[in-house]
């Protein structure tokens, strides 16, 4: 996911104007659609298949070579370098989400890792106990209350949503080098980053593809859960204690399993809607 995002932002900066128009149109219609639904599934599956084809024929083979040539520690150093260069994105989004402490921490991380960490190749800041925050504009919009909208698979860029697509484009504007290097250079940098990440994940993706009964659905579920969790900031959102509790209630419903009939009617009440929202009955279906 992350790797696609990298490339996405780069391409996004080139095509920002066009995409904005497209996205504005795309957002308007489906925002009413409930989360978790996939009204664009036929189109999404088509694009997903295309992306998988590109990955298998082009990206994965090259990443496989990278994986053989570069030892994992080197690949991880490269990933850290790219992550460090993303500092402005995380810094700005922390500010936009009114997380001043995290913003200051990001600033400290950038300073430490760029100097002591040799241009970001190493991450001494984490060892000092200052961890990164992984914020982006898609999450900022989420924190502001913008719903993600339906699941959306972008050509080449992979899993997304209308909200996260807007986020991607906005974040690309916050990148330092977008303004200083020609687009083909930044695109090559992006491709390098993508290949490196793809190479690090090569075994995981292969295993996941082999294991899934429906890989499209597995990825969709993972993407949506992951993003939702990031917006909720798993614990970071304690600011809203109420929000936390809301979440707990959701999870409660997820795990109820009244289907054997040995559970009391209390659980049944919770889900009288029948096949409504998965999230509501993961742990207490029925």
């Amino acid at each position: 996911m992350g790797c696609w995002g990298e490339l996405a932002a780069r391409i996004g900066s080139a095509a920002a104007a066009l995409s904005c128009a497209l996205v504005a149109g795309a957002i308007a219609a489906p925002l009413a659609a409930a989360d978790g639904e996939d009204p664009w599934e036929p189109m999404n599956r088509g694009i997903f298949r295309f992306n998988e084809g590109v990955d298998r024929t082009v990206v994965e083979p090259i990443a496989g070579v990278v994986d053989v040539v570069l030892p994992d520690p080197v690949e991880r150093a490269i990933r850290r370098f790219f992550e460090n260069s993303m500092f402005p994105v995380r810094f700005l989004n922390n500010l936009l989400q009114t997380k001043p402490v995290s913003a200051v921490e990001e600033l400290a991380r950038f300073t430490i890792n760029t100097t002591i960490g040799v241009a970001g190749l190493f991450d001494p800041a984490t060892h000092l106990g200052i961890e990164d925050t992984r914020e982006d504009f898609g999450q900022t919009l989420g924190v502001w209350g913008v719903p993600p909208g339906p699941y959306l698979v972008l050509p080449l860029l992979g899993p997304s949503s209308p909200r996260d697509t807007v986020g991607l484009i906005a974040d690309s504007a916050a990148r330092v080098y977008t303004y200083f290097v020609p687009f083909y250079v930044s695109t090559s940098i992006g491709a390098g980053d993508l290949l490196n990440r793809r190479s690090l994940a090569i075994d995981d993706i292969a295993a996941e593809r082999a294991a899934a009964l429906d890989y499209y659905v597995a990825v969709r579920n993972a993407y949506r859960s992951y993003r939702e969790n990031q917006v909720r900031d798993r614990g970071e959102g304690e600011e809203g204690d109420s929000e936390d509790r809301e979440d707990q209630v959701d999870r409660e419903d997820l795990y109820d399993s009244g289907e054997t009939g040995d559970d009391s009617g209390a659980e049944l009440e919770l889900d009288s809607e029948g096949d409504s929202d998965d999230e509501d009955d993961l742990y207490y279906p029925e």
Binding site: V217, A218, D233, R234, E238, V249
Partner: protein, 220 residues
């Protein structure tokens, strides 16, 4: 200031980093709360102990390179399945569809699902020997389940947050879901299996799992 405090307190994800800073503030804030809210409940302590024991045992086996790989995977299976409630897990994955399965189909499905999990994760286990696991918290849910929160330290998945959800049955706490960075195993399999059951019924799902398992066996 209140905002600052809650921002600090809120950040469980980086709690370790901020613990020292937040401690003074937290003590002041929490001092106002009833003591009962602070103490871990008995359930939380029990669930936490189950996760902690399981993690310790698994890591000990993973690191013992004297044992052949195949045997290590077998003993990890024994440890993990002893602490996982496969029956509940399988049922939660099917949700309402569970009732569409006859008793025999249910039994077949549970058996195939178990083999499927073994095949999916068994081969990958080797890669986790570099890491340790830190238990960062436990939270009792309103209806009695307990979520034990952990964080991976070191290795390839440094910093990953893994939650285990446990449910007590006859006084025994067992894991019913694993949630990695917000991605729930139960939810992910449920989404995948749902459309299969609705298009082809219970038999198609069992059939598909069986196919996967046969392919998985061939790989070993």
């Amino acid at each position: 200031m209140t905002r600052m405090i809650s921002t600090i307190r809120s950040n469980r994800q980086r709690a370790a980093a901020r613990a020292r800073v937040a401690l003074g503030v937290a003590v002041a804030v929490l001092g106002a709360l009833p003591v009962a809210a602070l103490a871990a409940t008995e359930s939380e302590a029990l669930a936490r102990a189950v996760v902690s024991e399981t993690v310790d045992e698994v890591l000990a086996v993973l690191r013992d390179k004297a044992i052949p790989a195949e045997d290590r995977i077998r003993s990890i299976e024994t440890i993990v399945y002893g602490r996982f409630d496969l029956q509940v897990m399988s049922r939660l994955v099917l949700a309402r569809n569970w009732k569409r399965f006859s008793e025999q189909q249910q039994a077949e499905y549970v058996a195939e699902f178990k083999r499927y999990l073994t095949n999916s994760y068994g081969s990958r286990i080797e890669r986790y020997d570099q890491q340790t696991v830190e238990i960062t918290g436990a939270r009792e849910e309103p209806r009695g389940d307990v979520v034990v929160q952990t964080k991976i330290i070191g290795g390839e998945f440094e910093g990953a947050l893994v939650d285990y959800r446990l449910r007590s049955q006859n006084g025994e706490w067992r894991v019913i879901d694993v949630v990695i960075e917000g991605i729930s195993m139960v939810s992910n399999y449920r989404d995948q299996f749902k459309s299969i059951v609705s298009s082809g019924g219970p038999d198609l799902l069992i059939e598909k799992l069986r196919e996967k398992n046969a392919a998985g066996m061939a790989l070993e």
